[in-house]
Amino acid sequence: MNDGALIKQFCEHGQVNAFNTLVWRWQKPIYNFVLRYLGDPEDAREITQQTFIKAHRNLPHLKDHARFSTWLYQIAVNLCRDEIKKRRRRKTYSLESMQENSDQQNARDLLPVADEGASPDNIVSRKELRDILARALQQIPEEQREVVIMKEYQGLKFTEIAEALGIPLNTAKSRMYYGLTALRKILTQWQFDQESFQYEM
């Protein structure tokens, strides 16, 4: 049964199991989107839960059922943005102290492999790669991060990304371009490239 039919069952007949099927289907993509956006599993679980609670409450108001997935991402993005605002308010002091450091030093501090003698030829494990990418994603601006995650991990088309974020199509593409470029620079700065991961690949 497709999403549209499940939404109809839930909205018109109040079948909560139809909504649970939608949750079961979309929980993992939304969780992984939020996890990559915020970089913290606990926050990701919390925001995923809030996303579906909001969806449960507002689904009857969704007119175009074909837009369900982008609508769901829209909710998740808004909650992630709110969470980041909250974090900024909570961690103003620590952010200020971080900004005093040079970008180079900051980037090195963020590297999970804190070995000063690490060479570019170091082979990293899949777990280390995950941590490095998580930290790299946190370094790029939110507006680029949203697009990069939606495109690279969620596999959304640029039109869907533009719709979910409420931005023009070309803006979505340019944010993707700048996001990828920024990530490339960060990873190069950390002396990390694809060759480092060849062993595991």
Partner: protein, 223 residues
Amino acid sequence: MRCDDYKILFMDFLYNELNAEDEVRLKEHLKICESCRREYEELSKTSVLLRGWPDEEPEANLVFVNQPSGFLSRLRHLIWPASESLGKKLVAGLSTAAVAVLLLAAVLNLELTRKGNDMNVRVSLLPRSEVRQDIDSTIINQLREQNLELINQVMLANREQQRQEMVRNLTQFAQEVHRQRQNDLLLVGRGLEQAQEWNDTRFQHTNEVLNSLIRTTTYQPEQ
């Protein structure tokens, strides 16, 4: 076209969303422009590298359950179905408002009177205590008489019913006493019979003992 014009197409090309015509043009450009080719390759490598972070399993599964809704909530849902159109909602809203106004008017004892062109509105939380003066007193008297008659009838009927009930109860009581008396007499009779039997048995036993004693004492062996 300048290099910047081709760079716009990089993202569409990288994610297979570029149309065939632009794809041919971009490929031609990448063949001849080393700078663009190098940048595209770097972006492509970065994209591949990003995929090194596979999806993770959320540890907890979310399950929604139906909670029994309260009366007000059910009423609200009945009046305001969430998925209805704006027009239906408007109709539902107006109907609800009309019902609310009527209820309020009833609670406040709203009274509208019109004399000529004047419209009088009276509102009171308490019901009107005034009795209209123009009610015919004969009707009242008639009603009173009827009331009295009815009350008398009811009282007489009640009295007769009580009397019959008392007679019935007394009869039942007398019957019960009579039955009890017979029962007692029967028991007394049986008791006397049993006592007589017991006495006879005792007498017989005593006689036997005495006879035995007499026989023993009268026996005197010759010396």
